[in-house]
Subunit: 487 residues, 4 copies
Amino acid sequence: MNSENFSLSEKIVSPAYVRQGSQARRSHEQLIRHLLEQGKCPEEGWSESTIELFLNELAVMDSNNFLSNCGVGEREGRVASSLVARRHYRFKLIHGIGRSGDIAAVQPKAAGSSLLNKLTNSVVLDILKLSGVQKVASCFVVPMATGMSLTLCFLTLRHRRPKARYIIWPRIDQKSCFKAMITAGFEPVVVENVLEGDELRTDLEAVERKIEELGAENILCVHSTTSCFAPRVPDRLEELATVCAKHNLPHIVNNAYGVQSSKCMHLIQQGARVGRIDAFVQSLDKNFMVPVGGAIIAGFDESFIQEISKMYPGRASASPSLDVLITLLTLGASGYKRLLSERKEIYSLLAQELKTLASAHGERLLHTPHNPISLAMSLDGLQAESNKAVTHLGSMLFTRQVSGARVIPLGKEQTVSGHTFRGFMSHSEAYPCPYLNAASAVGITREDVTLCIKRLDKCLKTLKKEGTAAKSSSPVPPPCQEDTGEE
Amino acid sequence: MNSENFSLSEKIVSPAYVRQGSQARRSHEQLIRHLLEQGKCPEEGWSESTIELFLNELAVMDSNNFLSNCGVGEREGRVASSLVARRHYRFKLIHGIGRSGDIAAVQPKAAGSSLLNKLTNSVVLDILKLSGVQKVASCFVVPMATGMSLTLCFLTLRHRRPKARYIIWPRIDQKSCFKAMITAGFEPVVVENVLEGDELRTDLEAVERKIEELGAENILCVHSTTSCFAPRVPDRLEELATVCAKHNLPHIVNNAYGVQSSKCMHLIQQGARVGRIDAFVQSLDKNFMVPVGGAIIAGFDESFIQEISKMYPGRASASPSLDVLITLLTLGASGYKRLLSERKEIYSLLAQELKTLASAHGERLLHTPHNPISLAMSLDGLQAESNKAVTHLGSMLFTRQVSGARVIPLGKEQTVSGHTFRGFMSHSEAYPCPYLNAASAVGITREDVTLCIKRLDKCLKTLKKEGTAAKSSSPVPPPCQEDTGEE
Amino acid sequence: MNSENFSLSEKIVSPAYVRQGSQARRSHEQLIRHLLEQGKCPEEGWSESTIELFLNELAVMDSNNFLSNCGVGEREGRVASSLVARRHYRFKLIHGIGRSGDIAAVQPKAAGSSLLNKLTNSVVLDILKLSGVQKVASCFVVPMATGMSLTLCFLTLRHRRPKARYIIWPRIDQKSCFKAMITAGFEPVVVENVLEGDELRTDLEAVERKIEELGAENILCVHSTTSCFAPRVPDRLEELATVCAKHNLPHIVNNAYGVQSSKCMHLIQQGARVGRIDAFVQSLDKNFMVPVGGAIIAGFDESFIQEISKMYPGRASASPSLDVLITLLTLGASGYKRLLSERKEIYSLLAQELKTLASAHGERLLHTPHNPISLAMSLDGLQAESNKAVTHLGSMLFTRQVSGARVIPLGKEQTVSGHTFRGFMSHSEAYPCPYLNAASAVGITREDVTLCIKRLDKCLKTLKKEGTAAKSSSPVPPPCQEDTGEE
Amino acid sequence: MNSENFSLSEKIVSPAYVRQGSQARRSHEQLIRHLLEQGKCPEEGWSESTIELFLNELAVMDSNNFLSNCGVGEREGRVASSLVARRHYRFKLIHGIGRSGDIAAVQPKAAGSSLLNKLTNSVVLDILKLSGVQKVASCFVVPMATGMSLTLCFLTLRHRRPKARYIIWPRIDQKSCFKAMITAGFEPVVVENVLEGDELRTDLEAVERKIEELGAENILCVHSTTSCFAPRVPDRLEELATVCAKHNLPHIVNNAYGVQSSKCMHLIQQGARVGRIDAFVQSLDKNFMVPVGGAIIAGFDESFIQEISKMYPGRASASPSLDVLITLLTLGASGYKRLLSERKEIYSLLAQELKTLASAHGERLLHTPHNPISLAMSLDGLQAESNKAVTHLGSMLFTRQVSGARVIPLGKEQTVSGHTFRGFMSHSEAYPCPYLNAASAVGITREDVTLCIKRLDKCLKTLKKEGTAAKSSSPVPPPCQEDTGEE
């Protein structure tokens, strides 16, 4: 309430109590002021009451909530269902973000939504810095998944490099980032990884060879990856960035779920410091525990990032921006950092537990120290029985509600958009052994690890006991667990 | 509750009452059964209680809501903020829709979300048929605005027509559909409209001339438009579709807010009947009164629509699908049809009122019978005073909370993505007079019309009284009202 | 947001848009100002957004929402469940209303809740005036049902009349108002009604006779009733009030669902004008369409009403106050008046339809013009078959989801708290015929009437067809429909 | 969804996934089954999703939610405001609890609400047992505060002891329990406490003396208290119960916030074991962290508790029942026990901290080992300056948002309902010193203690520095902090 209404209230209940009430209101306003002034994620998380107060304030600023508005346009923020209105903070934030000219532009009809959008981008930029990429200059939230966001980056680069046809891509067996290139109309040049110990790492020489072979002017960019399933490890970003700088070649990094790992973020910071990175793209849901559907496109040159944002034709959903802003205000910077350090600790726990389990079953935890999130345990014993046993383990885990664990059999072949991948899912044409993946991603709990190990142990025992008999016992065709975990 | 729990309840309260309660539950289940069986929009709208019951049921089917789930993947549907969880039906529907392979694919981890997605597409298809495109074969909701959805269509066509560089585009002054072509990497070939009476209509001869000039094999498609601001009227779809069929040329229709008009839908139906239309794209928010951010891509050949859906790399937000499903279940087919017929009636009212107002001010309502949604009133009198007076009217209306009314001054020039448009906003290089637009879009009320006319009348009177004096009186630079109403 | 935060926002998005947003906020504040100033129900209802904004503002004024509060008392407004917190406007309104001294007192810890309480009582007082009791001087909402509220009135009177043992009570067959006297520790003196035509009316002579017989000093008060089931009609309040004034006897009116009827309210206004009425009590749920659990105690002498409010020992739930305030702000005075006039129209419709139905079945609508809400239709034909048939009609209607229709068989006898009522439920020892009741209460729709008549018609036909055979066919003991409709 | 709908779903998305979804649903149903079967608080708390699923199921069982219901009664559970409907679980639980005959009775129109009511009482009974009164036989939740609930007990006893006029009441300075007796129409016989060390304890001899003096037949009951502010300690329940048994006198215990203390509960258990306790009454909000407005009336003789429940005339609000059920299902028995043991630990912490603070300021923590919740610290030093300084400390703490701390000056006299209490608030006519109270109540955090001690320390320093100068510096009349903390 404004001061006039507080004064009136003092006539109804005791002035001393009302004054204390109005002072209490001011303490919420102070938090909001700080956010508006600094544009940073608050160190301490806000209470839900402050967040709802703030969102309500933003909502009343949008024209569709003006009490005396009349609308004769073709898009007036009307909402037919009160259930839907409520989901979007009632009377509110219906206008989405951006304008036809620019997804980051301000809307005349929607001061509140525009403010929401600007603040979200600003708070997210702050979090990217805190997470390790101090040099980042600009970013924006886009209501599309990581793959489509990568496509948008490639489409933007096309205008700068109209002759280019190829994208250099160190292999990672994840469909959507491969398709991001196809959808944008380019031809991916797949560079196979090299095996170092158990790890699959970027083949730098092959990359350079390809650049020279095709001619830098015919290449749109190098498209590298940080977060990935073990035994593949993050690409050698520093070296790739140096190569790109040398050849004056753009460099786009798929950092899908890398914000949660200081190692991945450090690679990007270093790459940008010593060489060239034009943009890096990360998923909202995987890093910030919000529903699927948004990504952050970030980079070191503000004008290039703006160019990408201007490529998005039309307005867009404010829903992912709203979700991530609420989440970051709730957690605060300290809360987010706490989540990240818990994740790291549980990674060690998971590694330890998998190691113990592996040796109990005559298997081993693959040695992949460069992968800070995902782990892999060999399944040589199962394989010895049959390839089917490996697949069967996958469906057993699915039925037992162990989600996210993937089993990777040997020798799978798959054709994606015309390109045939041998050894699909293993990032390699011929990885030496089948294996099972498990990851410690942000939000994981110790209980997740305990339950997973217990159930996995049980499954392995059952499979061994039954021997090959087990394989035919499943009356239902096993759901294709292997494929889960893809974006 | 299941039957066991109902039986237990009978021991606690009177069996007769519990039986009646369980029977009541069954009546909700019957509605759900009908939806699952038919996949159609129910004729009568559901109560909010049935809708929430249904959404809750879907939610419990997703793995992140399994009570004994343990997650060791990199994407586990975890949510950090309870405010965010609640927005997305609590514990629910966090997984988004689709998989890396296909935005329409089923997710193993999320039976509920997958069901939601399939049903939404099915219900929306039913509504497209009811609205006039009976021939439509397939459609899907995509969480991107109309412009980006058009881009996706163009990107899909590129794989079919790798040599093509051009898109034939009868001019419509709306930035995002122009940019949709630029973003996809094509060169728009702008075909100016012809003036017939007050109306701006498709120059069919010029289109054919361009096709022959450039060669059909170098052209990606014809990109036409239905819904638009008067005095431009919907493109001659039948004729364009016939031309496309003749030249074996794809044809994409921007039907942004055309679902709400039986005329626009009839044009598409007829076009597809006599000639060729590959896909037509419409906005969710403009046609279904939901928040900005989603579109429907629809067509007459199921396999082509599937091809487009497979081009989207990665999962996507379920938020727009959820909003439109809730809205259509709330309204029912009959409720949606009622909204459309109200819109039509209010269009006549608005036309009548504008006509009366116009003649009172020495202006006239432009005669644009082919445009079923938007109207235009000349502003010759204001123009006589100065171009500034026209612009000033725009900002006056903005300040008086008349949203959506646009004023179009003469001779504006604007460069969009390198292309210069003379007479920008008027769809014509030299429209004979400046004018003001108002539209009757779905959800408009009689009160909107009354208020708009009253305020407009007042503004025109003030401007006349003040004469040129008025123009300098605005201390604040007038907000650029002209631009609102763009997607 | 306060002005400082609006200024900061202007640096982030365009000042012109922010200014418009802040102006929009002001229009909500204006509505709140008006409420605080006038303490009256706003003429036009508020939007949900204004209501939630207002409730949020009240909530932040309560100490349990202070961001830096620390609590070391035994009652600190803590809430363990976020579901519960949200129900009560999150961080809010947990303190209930009143203090140990007085249910209407202001709480130091809870300026917001106190304001809510004061405003609710003030708005409700305004509505009582608008509904016809212009003379009412004071009232308060109490979170107890009508019966317990009557008990509180009687307990308060005891302190003024310590010798009194009896309460004079014109018979009405509704248990809770009878028990209200028993619970308060008094002996009800039941005065049988007289039959005038079909109507059962107050026997004024018998009342006076009782007063003289027992001695006014031994009588606590007269306890009369307005709203009741036909064929009983509202008590003759003017005459009773005159009698009470003459004998210097308190007079308490049970006006349970009478606010919705201008006739009932007029009786109270007139009674107070010509004679004595000390307090009148009405249900919140029955008159204002809120959940069960609250009542309004009102009267013409502020100090007596205050005396009652001070009798309530301890704090009380704010839930009923909150519900009724939200409802009245949503409806506005005009909305509430519209509801009442619709109710009146549907009363006429229901009477007409029942009349037609009755004559089709050889029955008649009892002539009860003094009862403005409830109607009765004779069931002589059914009775002719057997008493069981009458009862069976009740359970048939229950099973067919006709709720609120009551069938009244002849000659039922029931003992309540030691007192035996002959002809129980019919307000008379020997009403001439059995009958069925139906009422037109606030919120009823035309569809309710249509469905009820249709189903009733069907039931009567079935019963006639089956004859006595029907009576034994019900395998389940028929639920005791007769009793529904009691408070 | 029922099995039919699951089958239909299998045709739309993969059967294996739907099966897993339906299995997930079953795990929620299992929890509900367990609750219905056992009627006990589940050991582990439920997730919010299970709770909402359950409440939704209950809601659909109420007649006002039947899709084809038609209502022609005077109370049909209609709701005018969707905000209000939503607060009460939408379409749901509008009917309140009980019937005119009995607040615990089943309602024909509302199977869901009735089930809710029965389960709540059953779960609460389980918690009372777990908290230490294993012998408790019956209880019910009543939507009135503790004071009014005590009144209801006294009114019920009146029917058993029509001659009785007095209630024996060991003094405790809390208005609402005193008024509970006045409101019920009885004369409280105040028995002063005796000072043992610092503690104020029951004067058993005086109690017996009074009984003999007045004659047991003229006494309604003994009304004792467990939870209270130090230095008063819980009454000697065992001894009082023995006395009551001996004199065949009813005994009602005010256990307002005693459920949270195993000591208080043990006293009741023991009292009932060795002597006579007819009923004990406890507040919902103070023990279970729900909003103000409900109480539990419990006892050892089921028929007497039923007699009380039958005294409540009319239906009542289900809101407090709903809140406590949600809270207990959320916490589970283990969660509630954890809260209680945390409270106990923080009690020790608070005692320790206050002791240290006291000695730093030349004061001392009063030695009150029999009071398990409340503590008192002497304020002799302040008193030495003036009585005003003591009062001023109260308002300073209020302004600094330390809520719940009370300062008790010497020699206050107050008249409540005609009875004059000397030394009011100190439970004694002449307590030796003024003091400050602080309590460790359920839900308190370590941070509350730290902040309270810090602020209190600062206030005491300020007061000492300023000396008497401070006392006149407060421009606003100090809010009456002393009174807070009363029910």
